[in-house]
């Protein structure tokens, strides 16, 4: 059977809708189904962690490293491992979960591409814990004020910009005093 919409491709999706007792049947190809806004189902229970481990395994760097190691067995590097909890990068990429907070340190910059893919970013902006933060908090606030200042300058809102400038000065003094 061909798709009833385009008549060209074979119909792979057969939808039966019953609305208020009225039954309608549709036979569509995937392309037309998507165009008509029907959800393409059939992926089953595909959890976020499956997707994540897909992202994690995509790592051209480690592929090269593996090939290098094969050619020269004596330089085979031992697997990347978190020294605190013992989780290896391979285990992490399988489960999609870190073992402890130190994993973030030990896997280090290897995580940047992952974060970029998930969040589009690699660095935190936003709340900083009061007690743990202290200085960090002021520095972060300063960064944000500075970017707001640039925005106001760009949109020529000079009164607001001046206000930002004063707040930036006050914070800079605060840092200077505490050092």
């Amino acid at each position: 059977m061909n798709c009833q919409e385009c008549g060209k491709r074979p119909a792979t999706l057969h939808l039966t809708k019953i609305v208020n007792g009225e039954k309608t049947e549709n036979h569509l190809c995937e392309h037309c189904a998507q165009e008509k806004g029907h959800f393409v189902q059939g992926f089953g229970n595909f959890s976020i962690n499956n997707l994540l481990s897909g992202l994690l395994n995509f790592d051209p760097m480690s592929k090269n490293a593996a090939q290098g190691a094969m050619g020269n067995p004596s330089t085979a590097t031992k697997p990347m491992r978190c020294e605190t909890c013992g989780m290896t990068y391979a285990q992490f990429s399988k489960s999609g979960r870190f073992g402890c907070s130190d994993c973030y340190e030990h896997f280090g910059s290897k995580l940047d591409p992952l974060f970029r893919r998930i969040h589009g970013n690699t660095n935190h902006v936003g709340k900083v814990p009061e007690r743990t933060g202290g200085q960090i908090k002021i520095r972060k606030e300063l960064e944000q004020l500075k970017s707001t200042l640039q925005q106001y300058i760009a949109t020529e809102e000079f009164e607001k910009a001046a206000e930002m400038r004063d707040r930036i000065r006050a914070l800079e003094q605060k840092i200077a005093q505490s050092q």
């Binding site: 989780m87 489960s95 870190f98 073992g99 402890c100 907070s101 973030y104 969040h119 936003g126 743990t132």
Partner: protein, 353 residues
């Protein structure tokens, strides 16, 4: 207050049916994920380490500082039967993950059930605030206040570059997931919903069903939440979600107006048929119940039905769930028995004045 009460009564604070834009936004939820620095994440923790986390968190939750925010009662997962856990999941007080997968999992519940603090879920601490209507900033403020009290007393896993460290890389950074539960019958009826859902995915937000990840959207209820947690501040995340939700609310209102003007009879017919079915049906499956209750809810919002409150409907949202029906019956029920009890419960609630 006791565990008994959390089990027996289906009401929580979020069901009030009050609050801003309550005709479309049923509830607002905000979750903050936090971990302790010195302990391995729950995935790798030993039983004794996990227990230590439970005790540390409970100590702060019952401290004087926290008393000012609310009084919390601790419930350990191991104390509960599978059915009791299910009731708490249906009330949205705990996640399915805490109920089924956690080791030494526990939850601290506030008296009005607007705050629940899960311990040893995927992360050590998950603070959840649940409010009626559209109250994103209020939820963040309330959650953040609790977060501050914990931070004064516990050593959080925090890193200057990565922010709050979480077990799953999808939560790192702010660790917050904000969501609103939207009732969008008119967008579904006018077939605009798929177009909107597709657009939403392109702006860093996700839509899920009533019971979160992997759950189906039943009864025209959609949960809209942020996806990105790293590289955006909490206030940006919240205002982003706020403005997208606001757009959808306007579109839904527009669609409702369109339907009222152009297909008034058909709309009234559909709503009143559903109302009639629920008033007289002797057996109702959960999916049909959800759909018909959605029609009745729309009928209330449009002034077509005036002797039912949205509080009653919110209550039914929970009390017609399989776990809750069995809890109320005090026994295990077959699917047929549940459909019968569901129909009876709905009849009683809708005809009570």
């Amino acid at each position: 207050m006791s565990l008994q009460r959390f089990m027996q009564y289906p009401w929580s604070n979020w069901m009030k049916g009050e609050g801003p834009d309550a005709d479309i936004v049923i509830s607002t939820r905000l979750r903050i994920a936090r971990n302790l620095r010195q302990h391995p994440f729950p995935l790798l923790a030993t039983d004794s380490q996990a227990e230590e986390v439970v005790n540390k968190v409970a100590e702060v939750a019952t401290s004087d500082a926290m008393q000012k925010v609310g009084s919390f009662e601790q419930v350990k997962m191991e104390q509960l039967s599978p059915l009791e856990k299910r009731v708490l999941v249906e009330k949205h007080l705990i996640s399915p993950n805490l109920a089924e997968e956690s080791r030494k999992g526990a939850v601290l519940l506030s008296e009005d059930e607007s705050v629940s603090i899960m311990v040893n879920e995927e992360d050590h601490i998950r603070i959840q605030v649940f409010l009626p209507g559209f109250q994103l900033s209020e939820a963040w403020e309330a959650g953040s206040r609790i977060d501050d009290i914990f931070e004064k007393n516990l050593n959080y896993a925090f890193n200057e570059n990565r922010g709050y460290l979480t077990s799953c890389p999808t939560n790192v950074g702010t660790g917050i997931r904000a969501s609103v539960m939207l009732h969008l019958p008119a967008l579904v009826m006018t077939q605009q919903i798929n177009r909107i859902l597709q657009a939403i995915n392109q702006v860093g937000l996700v839509v899920r069903g009533l019971y979160g990840e992997g759950s189906e959207a039943v009864g025209n209820l959609f949960q809209l939440s942020n996806q990105v947690t790293l590289g955006m501040s909490e206030s940006d995340i919240i205002s982003n979600l706020y403005s997208v939700a606001n757009q959808i609310i306007q579109q839904e209102r527009e669609a409702r107006r369109y339907l009222s003007e152009h297909s008034r009879t058909a709309l009234e017919d559909r709503i009143c048929r559903s109302y009639g079915t629920l008033l007289y049906a002797r057996t109702v499956e959960s999916k049909e119940a959800a759909q018909r209750l959605s029609d009745v809810r729309l009928g209330i919002d449009l002034g077509i039905i005036d002797n039912v409150t949205s509080f009653t409907l919110n209550e039914l949202l929970v009390s017609t769930q399989p776990g809750y029906l069995q809890q109320a019956a005090g026994q295990k029920l077959t699917a047929e028995q549940r459909d019968e009890r569901r129909a009876r419960l709905i009849r009683e609630k809708l005809s009570a004045k």
